[in-house]
Symmetry: C2
Subunit: 117 residues, 2 copies
């Protein structure tokens, strides 16, 4: 069910703090056509494996276009945003080197998540 | 190309130390029907997302059967082995909270990897 605060984003925590992990979380997400994550950052490293769909990764003013089977690598603490620019759902798996995952807005405020991170 | 030392195991490092990461590595692996990883452990947490296929996870004497869309969660430093018990290739993505990844045999020796970890 899409969380109210993040329209177009379907989230599943595959593994994380709820499984006793302290340094690793793995999420499965689907971004609907035309939808996007908010701009945000994590104080941990992140790797996104794109299963299907097309999109753009915006990182500190730069735009990277990607498609299925691309891997996106994000160093810790860089602001980023994922946008589904295609006409199909964007399916991805994200691995983060933190559990639970904290999400910060570009101005440093904590972004409450509508799921157990 | 299957590495000579690990027959039946096809490996791709999607992200890791070669990308500047220090706390996160993501691998894509295929285990051929009937093949298995050696028993091994890492001094880091690991999450395995099974894309397709069937297999067994052996963890310190226990056996867990899994199939497609299962997620396997391994705490740090537990000996484990993945076995493809099906008739099709076993496709998976593994995330590890370490870069580069060190692999140890159950008796604590470093297991040299035939790929850049």
């Amino acid at each position: 069910m899409p969380p109210a605060g993040l329209p177009g984003l379907d989230h599943q925590t595959l593994a994380g703090a709820g499984n006793g992990l302290r340094h690793l979380s793995v999420w499965r997400q689907t971004i609907a056509a035309g939808a996007a994550t908010p701009a945000h950052r994590h104080d941990c490293e992140e790797v996104i494996v794109v299963a299907s769909g097309h999109g753009e990764l915006h990182v500190e003013g730069r735009v990277y276009r990607f498609g299925a089977d691309c891997t996106l690598v994000l160093p810790a603490s860089v602001d980023h945003q994922l946008i589904n620019t295609g006409s199909e759902p964007l399916h991805l798996i994200a691995a983060l080197s933190m559990a639970p995952v904290q999400v910060l807005t570009p101005d440093g405020r904590a972004l409450p998540l509508p799921w157990q991170a």
